[in-house]
């Protein structure tokens, strides 16, 4: 196993290969670009989080004593826009994906390094335009921009915000394109499709959606802008347009976009579950193909957002059926992850706690999605807090937990430093408790009939809202702790060995942090994914102590 040998740790890695702001701003290294993205999305996550806390504080009282209605409407709109378009969509692909796709397949970089850098600049430009819109006065249409409110009635910065999202969409398209080409053409010798880590499969599936879906939202935003500026009459009924057409176009992208957000998270969790139980993923090919099935079926279910929007009854029935069908590949994944644990060697490191938490919360998020696919029940539940709770279980309980788990898991590789394990486990627990306390009451509030986007609400919902706000405060604390200790560890954390978790994946067979070219020599892959062979183990262990001694 010649290719297994890790070169003696060099002092030169991608972080210290070059110095100065210019070396970062003009870098073509996928790892540095991932770092740029990591910093930028963290800023947007902080902004979105502040909006979330404002929402929760305001809803402590049914009479809304902190903000005016107009401000409240802007706050929830901007919370949604920032979190969806500037945090969740790029979160895992642009940071962990960017960093790990080449490393995991044994490549030196992505296929188009310059386009990769360009995608970051486009993202920053889109973000800057949107932040300008927020500072100039904000936008109050809801993140869904429903017409004719957004085109004719809203008196806020709709077009500028839309422009920001339009621009940011191109960064998503470029990232997706880069991943697809890289995965097709740059796998190391011996890295066959079915030896790929499942992280790669899920990023491949998400990339398909990015390049196929994002142009549709771009066109839709352009139409809204034309309509608002020139009154062209595509959506405005007064000019013969159809306001419901907008909803079809919007959800044709925005439903698959949910899968852009959650598929990479599923990829992270496959890695966490397999590696921290030292087991190959149960039913590898079923998990791999379920990602592709989700990507394909995900494009056929947008109409379930329109069950009460005067869509035809028969269309509603077809979309309901397809929505149930798209749930099956997700269920298959959950069962396979659970089965992977069977007879494993399970450790309770921080990333695994996030991984296990993900399975539980994603199960609840997925099952409550079935309520919303069931037509007659959706009629009662749509546009209530039940929907809010459901998609937060998917996007926070799912994507955010996977992102945090992945960030801890690969932190030693990314920064070359270990994070404090005790704090890590503690904050994972706090996040789990805080999250559930925030969003479980919202399921109840939803079935009780509390509509979403309500600044004032009937007093009988207050108890549930107070619980929710209490949970959000705990969740907030649980998220600030990692922010602090991760930043701390970048400077003061113990130096990380090449393979701190003793794992077989390619990304662990190079030094931490990796050199600019990732591998000294092109690796030749002779093993299956998640192959924890005993001989390897000795090899890994020996290498581990050797590396540690030299650090």
């Amino acid at each position: 196993m010649e290719e297994f040998k890790v070169p003696p740790p060099s002092k030169i890695n991608y972080l210290n290969a070059d110095y100065g702001l210019k070396s970062w701003l003009l870098t073509k290294d996928h790892k540095r670009i991932a770092f740029l993205y990591l910093g930028s999305i963290s800023v947007f996550f902080l902004i979105g989080g502040i909006y979330a806390m404002l929402i929760r504080l305001e809803l402590l009282s049914p009479h809304g004593q902190l903000l005016s209605s107009t401000t409240y409407n802007k706050v929830f709109t901007q919370h949604g826009i920032i979190m969806v378009f500037f945090f969740l969509l790029p979160s895992i692909p642009a940071t962990l994906g960017n960093f790990l796709v080449p490393l995991m397949i044994g490549a030196k970089d992505l296929a188009f390094p310059r386009i990769n850098l360009l995608s970051w600049y486009i993202y920053i430009l889109g973000g800057a335009v949107t932040v300008y819109a927020l500072l100039a006065g904000g936008v109050d249409t809801g993140w869904t921009f429903y017409v004719p409110f957004s085109t004719t009635f809203s008196n806020s910065y709709v077009v500028v915000t839309g422009l920001g999202i339009f621009i940011a969409g191109f960064s998503s398209i470029l990232t997706g394109l880069n991943f697809i080409v890289t995965i097709h053409t740059m796998r190391a010798p011996g890295m066959t499709w079915f030896r790929l880590p499942l992280f790669i499969w899920s990023h491949y599936a998400a990339s398909l959606i990015m390049i196929l879906g994002t142009p549709v939202i771009a066109i839709t935003i352009l139409l809204v802008a034309f309509e608002r500026l020139a009154h062209v009459g595509i959506f405005d009924p007064a000019n013969g347009g159809d306001p419901v057409l907008f909803q079809h176009l919007f959800w044709f992208y925005s439903h698959p976009a949910v899968y852009i957000m959650v598929l990479p998270g599923m990829g992270v969790v496959s890695e966490l579950i397999a590696n921290f139980s030292r087991k190959n993923v149960f039913g590898y090919s079923f998990v791999a193909f379920s990602s592709l099935a989700i990507a394909v079926f995900g494009f056929l279910v947008w109409g379930h957002h329109l069950f009460v929007a005067t869509q035809s009854v028969y269309a509603g029935m077809i979309f309901s059926f397809l929505s149930f069908a798209v749930g099956i590949p997700s269920a298959v994944k959950v069962f396979n992850w659970s089965a992977t644990l069977y007879k494993g060697s399970i450790s309770y490191d921080t990333p695994m706690l996030y991984g296990l938490g993900f399975i539980g919360l994603f199960t609840i998020g997925g099952m409550t999605g079935l309520f919303l696919a069931a037509l007659a029940v959706d009629v009662h539940l749509s546009d209530t807090y039940f929907v809010i709770a459901h998609f937060h279980y998917i996007m926070v309980g799912g994507t955010l937990l996977a992102y945090l788990g992945g960030l801890h898991y690969w932190w030693p590789k990314i920064t070359g430093r270990m994070y404090p394990e005790g704090w890590g486990r503690f904050s994972a627990l706090v996040v789990f408790v805080g999250f559930n306390l925030t969003f479980l009451p919202q399921f109840v509030a939803g079935y009780m009939g509390m509509p979403r986007r309500y600044h004032y609400y009937p007093p009988e919902f207050q108890v549930l809202n107070v619980l929710s706000t209490a949970g959000a405060s705990i969740l907030g604390v649980g998220l600030i702790i990692p922010l602090i200790y991760l930043l701390w560890s970048m400077r003061y954390g113990p130096k990380a060995p090449a393979n701190p978790w003793h794992l077989p994946g390619l990304e662990w067979r190079t030094q931490s942090p990796p050199p600019t070219e990732n591998f000294e020599t092109t690796p030749i892959v002779t093993w299956e994914a998640y192959e924890f062979a005993p001989i390897e183990e000795m090899e890994v262990m020996g290498r581990f102590s050797e590396t540690k001694a030299e650090v």
Binding site: A238, G283, A331, I359, L370, Y454, E537
Partner: protein, 325 residues
């Protein structure tokens, strides 16, 4: 109005219990699978915890039997949700015959209701128990949504078209009515209540508010003042324009060879955009009334056309009461 089952709102219509039953079924299955997965994960995590740092468990390839089982069983369960939910939805989408019709116009940020007997209300809707009530709804501006949690019904109110939903209340009381589609600044104040009454009390309420013109009568007056009568005939019997008697809910042969059902939406379109679906045998001579008639006047004109169907060539029902103030 505390319900005896916690976590479920007041149940006050013939359909609300059916929706609750499916909701309980869904909740039961969800709780079962969540606990199952939670239990399995916790059990495995404890049973197979790492005991020595060097242990490497034997790999397990997977099992086609298990994969098939946990694809097929969830699919079958999901299909039971689908069939149940779609069945209820389909039944509720059929508007009942002989329902009390109430016209609803939403605007930022209020609800205007008009009963077919003429009573107008704002943000409050009085209905009797034991009668099917059909709401025929449109909006003057943005998209709104009539959501009555106690009846488990909700339908968007879309500018430029009519949507409808129906219910049959079963329990007297006052229930929330929410706008459920975000509609701007005072969205959360666009609320009202549904007052459900015993039939005698409802009849008292109706007669106490009776001195208002029914929509059909108001529509008949509009029909004259807007000049519709010059082509469609003084009583809608037709002339240069097609006859309107009996046209509502009939199939109309169009000039382009298609047929269309003359529902509220078609009549509305024919008033606002007459050339869109021209009746076979008639020329494109009717002017558009876009911007000339308001949403409420449109509703009245449609009510008049409807009344021509129920009682051809006579004055619309019910008999006109005292003219509006």
């Amino acid at each position: 109005m505390q319900s005896w089952i916690p976590f479920v709102p007041e149940s006050a219509s013939t359909e609300s219990g059916n929706v609750d039953a499916l909701y309980f079924y869904l909740s039961g299955v969800t709780v079962f699978f969540t606990l199952l997965i939670g239990f399995v994960i916790t059990f495995f995590a404890i049973r197979y915890r790492r005991r020595t740092p060097y242990e490497i468990p034997r790999p397990i390839a997977g099992s086609h039997t298990l994969e098939s089982l946990w694809s097929v069983i969830p699919f079958v369960i999901a299909m039971s949700f689908f069939v149940w939910g779609a069945g209820l939805y389909f039944r509720n989408s059929r508007p009942p015959e002989n329902a009390l019709e109430v016209y609803v116009v939403g605007k930022q940020w209020m609800w205007k209701f008009q009963h077919s007997t003429g009573q107008r209300e704002i943000n409050v809707l009085h209905v009797p128990i034991g009668r099917k009530v059909k709401l025929i709804m449109t909006s003057e501006d943005v998209i709104h949504d009539v959501f009555i949690p106690a009846f488990r019904i909700k339908t968007d109110v879309v500018p430029g078209r009519y949507s409808s939903q129906w219910f049959e209340a079963t329990k007297p009381g006052e229930y929330h009515l929410f706008c459920a589609e975000y509609c701007g600044m005072n969205h959360s104040l666009m609320t009202g209540k549904v007052v459900v009454m015993e039939p005698p009390a409802f009849n008292d309420w109706l007669s106490g508010n009776a001195n208002q013109q029914s929509p059909a009568v108001a529509g008949q007056q509009l029909f004259q003042t807007l000049g519709c009568a010059s082509c469609h005939g003084a009583s809608g019997e037709g002339g240069r324009g097609p006859s309107l008697i009996g046209v509502f809910n009939s199939n109309v042969q169009l000039a382009n060879g298609q047929t269309v059902r003359a529902d509220e939406g078609y009549i509305r379109e024919s008033i606002l955009n007459p050339q869109a679906k021209l009746v076979s045998g008639f020329g494109p001579i009717m002017p558009t009334f876009q911007g000339i008639v308001s949403e409420e006047q449109l509703v009245q004109l449609i009510a008049y056309v409807k009344s021509l169907s129920s009682q051809p060539s006579s004055s619309p029902t019910p008999a006109p009461r005292a003219p509006a103030k």
